[in-house]
């Protein structure tokens, strides 16, 4: 009888043959992480955006090199009265303005010199202070990423600890922690961020043996992490409550494992995939929040640049020098988009059924 491709020929020896095949290719155990990696590596879109994000990080990390070796200026250096040569022609970094010969003349910062300025003012100057926009964009990106990643790490750390405590112990500990979450939910995130950021921008934070000076990047980092803890903590608490009822937890309790051990050795590994996805997504969220707070003057304080402060200072020249706001805006979009797409890919890979997302 002719056999069609892919079909197993059943003979009297089939059972024996199957047994021999099984012994030949032994079934190997696959860890969830390996399976996730296998799923992730097939997601080329996620990998492309991971590459974009790494590219942004690399560019921002190299800001001092660019400033020193290409632009030959620092991020805060004023060049108000200086003249640069663009394609051999001298141009004022900040042009003269005011009432000249009876007419109103706008005083404008130099536009992008691209490759004509020998590396100087590639994206033009930032405003009346005549600072190099490209240098400030890279330094600003560094600060935005530090705040974004730093606040995400702090936020996720505290959210995990609180979720584990609330979900494992339940009872009054859960009550106190969830009321704390509710309290923060009652405030709109941006308003709470503005209130805290503005208050701390004046005198800094000097309590409980911690001293943070006003103007420090720690202020927006801590403010953002603080206001977002409930938004990560609450869904994680739900997961802990569910995991708490599983047999492996009961088994651990029966074996006499301490609560600390159960929380960190049994529950935490099972939360890890959600935490990882949250962490990735919340970085994007925090970069946007930092930009919003800085735009409103409650985040990164001048003269330190961030993408939010650059958009804010660029507003004054939105008509004649739109790229002063567009460039940092595009940088934010690229970074946030890459993190979101990669985060989605990671979520699909780690737990395709999960519906983890940051909402507020």
């Amino acid at each position: 009888m002719a056999q069609r491709a892919g079909e197993t020929e059943f003979t009297l020896d089939t059972a024996a043959e199957l047994a021999s095949e099984t012994s030949a290719s032994e079934i190997r155990g696959r860890s969830p992480w390996y399976l996730a990696w296998r799923r992730l590596r097939r997601n080329y879109v996620a990998f492309f955006f991971l590459f974009v994000f790494l590219l942004v990080i690399a560019a921002c990390a190299l800001a001092p090199v660019y400033a020193h070796d290409v632009a030959h200026t620092g991020p805060d250096a004023n060049h108000i009265l200086e003249v640069v040569k663009v394609n051999g022609h001298p141009e004022q970094v900040v042009s003269e303005g005011g009432v000249i010969n009876g007419k109103l003349v706008a005083s404008l910062p130099i536009g992008p010199t691209w490759f004509g300025g020998g590396g100087k003012f590639v994206l033009g100057a930032d405003g009346p202070n005549g600072r190099d926009e490209a240098v400030r964009l890279l330094y600003g990106g560094r600060n935005s990423l530090i705040v974004g990643i730093g606040s995400s790490a702090i936020c996720v750390f505290f959210a995990v600890v609180l979720a584990l405590l609330a979900g494992y112990f339940r009872g009054w500990i859960d009550f106190v922690i969830t009321r704390f979450f509710d309290l923060f939910y009652a405030f709109p995130v941006v308003l709470l961020g503005i209130a805290l950021g503005s208050a701390l921008a004046i005198n800094g934070f000097h309590h409980f043996g911690i001293s943070v000076q006003p103007g420090s990047l720690w202020i927006p980092t801590l403010v953002i992490s603080y206001v977002l803890v409930p938004y990560v903590g609450r869904p994680l608490r739900g997961q802990v409550l569910s995991l708490r009822e599983k047999e492996f937890v009961e088994a651990a309790i029966a074996q006499g494992a301490s609560p600390l051990r159960i929380m960190f050795s049994e529950l935490l590994p099972n939360l890890a995939s959600s935490v990882l996805v949250f962490f990735t997504l919340i970085i994007a969220n925090n970069i946007v929040l930092e930009a919003a707070l800085s735009f409103l003057g409650a985040g990164v304080q001048p003269p330190t640049s961030s993408w939010g402060t650059l958009i804010s200072t660029g507003r004054d020249f939105i008509v004649t020098r739109p790229w002063l706001s567009l460039a940092p805006g595009i940088a934010i979009v690229l970074t946030v988009l890459s993190l979101n797409v990669f985060g989605d890919g990671l979520r699909d890979a780690l737990d395709p059924r999960a519906k983890v997302k940051v909402q507020h």
Partner: protein
């Protein structure tokens, strides 16, 4: 329909459409105008062109709308037409605006031969906006309320007999103010003659308020007014609504306070200069209080040249240096800062709408003699820092986020300058709404920072006495941010204060005193700023009044 009939029909329809369009354009406002705006103006029997609503796009600089507390151009520009003092200024353009006229007083004060007693009489029949009669004792109450709520204006009243004691105890009454509600007579006894006392009586701090007005900020629960307008509501950082005072009668005030043209003023507060300008040019607002952003100046010149007014108010922008706090307690460090700042660069920061200065007084003053003590010299500045042993000293520069005044940009420049001369400078930018009270508190110990001064009244005392007399330093709401306290300077100010008139000899003495002060460099003055008022095309700028003190007078403007 035949061809001929069709033409007839078409012509009739066209004529009808054109006619209707003409009628509509005559009746209604322009397409740009929103429904909230009045449609054109109407001329009253007095010649005033009244209209329904004057819509103003305002900046965020209002500190208070309480006459005892406000000390900003933004606050005073609104309150000038709301809360009236006994004396005031003519509502006219140019130098004549500095002329003092009686507002709530029947006439200018009678001054005793020794210059220490001022006598005024309250006009009869004047009422507050709530209908209550204005009483002579309300003047005493207003001054005492200033002390009770730590008004920034109390420094003006230190020369009144018993005022300082009242300021300390805050009990009883100020013995130097005697008011008789029956006769309306108000007598003010001074400890020493004071040349600018009439000007002081014309400040908003002396505006009469009803007895019993609480000793706390009343910005959001407006105090009954005596002027042509009253504040109907104020939502901080959002909106101020000003409406006509139903009990105001211009004839009772001798015509010195105009009734005003707009029936209502809707003042909306925006955080962005560009938004305010766009709204005004689009017809959503009638007037833009903001200074337009630099990059819109070309557009204004090319398209809207007949909708703008460029003005030069009496102001000085400066960096104060706290003479009580290191390293600025060393005169060499202060002089070094003066040498190190390039004032031309600062002019550029202000978009060229400024003139560089080293003087305290603006050039509009007859006492002004241009100083050239500190030409830009970075090498000399560094040398002075080395001589003072201040190299590496930690310095915090204070600035506000007020974009209209370009404080963030000016202080960012100063930071670079201080770093370049060897000081370890950090920048501290805080919200404009709390900036002046923060740096005006001795507890802050602000080392150096941005400041500007727009005159309260056109007299050198408003500059030297208010800002640089060591005897007027206060613990809170201090205006002498430099804490400059030089016995010789104080004595000269006190002596010049007694001069009843500003003769050329007195003016020369002021000029000499200014030089003496600037040699000690408590300030690094850098510019006198020009400004631009922008209006929408429906506003008739022939009614525009720019006052020497209060700048653009909202009340006198009219529609085309």
């Amino acid at each position: 329909m035949t061809r001929k009939n069709r033409w007839k029909w078409l012509l009739t329809a066209t004529a009808l459409a054109v006619g209707l369009a003409l009628i509509a354009s005559a009746c209604g406002g322009g397409g740009k105008k929103s429904s909230s705006s009045s449609a054109g103006g109407s001329t009253t029997s007095t010649g005033a062109k009244t209209f329904a609503n004057f819509r103003i796009a305002y900046d965020t600089g209002i500190d208070f709308l309480d006459p005892s507390l406000s000390y900003t151009v933004q606050g005073w520009a609104i309150m000038w037409n709301v809360y009236l003092p006994l004396l005031g200024y003519k509502h006219v353009n140019g130098p004549d605006g500095a002329t003092i006229v009686p507002y709530l007083a029947q006439s200018l004060p009678t001054v005793s031969s020794d210059g220490k007693t001022y006598t005024l009489t309250l006009r009869k029949g004047v009422k507050y906006s709530n209908g209550a009669p204005v009483k002579a004792s309300d003047f005493a109450y207003a001054i005492e309320r200033d002390f009770q709520i730590d008004s920034p204006g109390v420094g003006f009243f230190g020369n009144i007999v018993g005022a300082s004691a009242y300021g300390t105890t805050k009990k009883g009454h100020i013995s130097g103010i005697v008011a008789n509600d029956t006769t309306g007579k108000i007598t003010i006894h001074l400890m020493a003659p004071e040349g600018d006392f009439e000007n002081i009586l014309a400040t908003t701090f002396t505006a009469l308020v009803p007895a019993g007005t609480p000793f706390k900020d009343q910005s959001t629960t407006p105090i009954p007014s005596t002027g042509p307008y009253m504040i109907q509501s104020y939502s901080p950082n959002k909106q101020v609504i000003v409406v006509r005072n139903p009990h105001f009668d211009a004839s009772l005030l001798g015509g010195n306070v105009p009734t005003g043209n707009p029936d209502k003023m809707t003042i909306q507060i925006f955080g962005d200069a560009s938004v305010a300008l766009t709204r005004t040019l689009n017809g959503q607002d009638d007037y833009d209080f903001y200074q337009p952003p630099n990059d819109r100046l070309g557009q204004l010149e090319s398209k809207y040249a007949n909708q703008i007014k460029v003005y030069t108010p009496a102001n000085t922008f400066y960096f104060f240096m706290n003479t009580r706090v290191a390293p600025f307690n060393n005169v060499k460090v202060r002089q070094a800062v003066n040498y190190a700042i390039n004032r031309q660069a600062l002019v550029r920061i202000y978009g060229g709408l400024a003139t560089p200065t080293e003087n305290v007084l603006p050039p509009t003053y007859p006492q002004y003699v241009k100083l050239n003590l500190y030409p830009y010299n970075l090498a000399k500045a560094k040398q002075l820092i080395t001589q003072a042993g201040a190299k590496g000293a930690a310095v915090t520069i204070w600035g506000s986020n007020n974009e209209s005044r370009r404080s963030p940009e000016a202080t960012a420049y100063l930071q670079q300058v201080l770093k370049s001369i060897g000081l370890n400078a950090k920048l501290k930018i805080i919200n404009a709404a709390v900036y002046w009270t923060t740096i005006g508190s001795q507890a802050t110990k602000a080392q150096i920072g941005f400041a500007d001064w727009f005159q309260d009244y056109p007299h050198p005392l408003d500059w030297f006495d208010v800002l640089l007399n060591g005897e007027r330093i206060t613990a809170t709401r201090n205006n002498n941010y430099a804490d400059f306290d030089d016995a010789s300077v104080n004595a000269k100010i006190d002596a010049l204060k007694k001069q009843p008139t500003l003769t050329s000899s007195v003016n020369s003495q002021w000029a000499a005193l200014e030089k003496q002060i600037m040699e000690q460099a408590p300030w690094a003055p850098f510019i006198n700023q020009q400004g631009i008022d922008t209006f929408n095309s429906d506003i008739d700028l022939s009614c525009y009044v720019f006052h020497v003190n209060y700048q653009f007078d909202f009340a006198t403007i009219c529609h085309k």
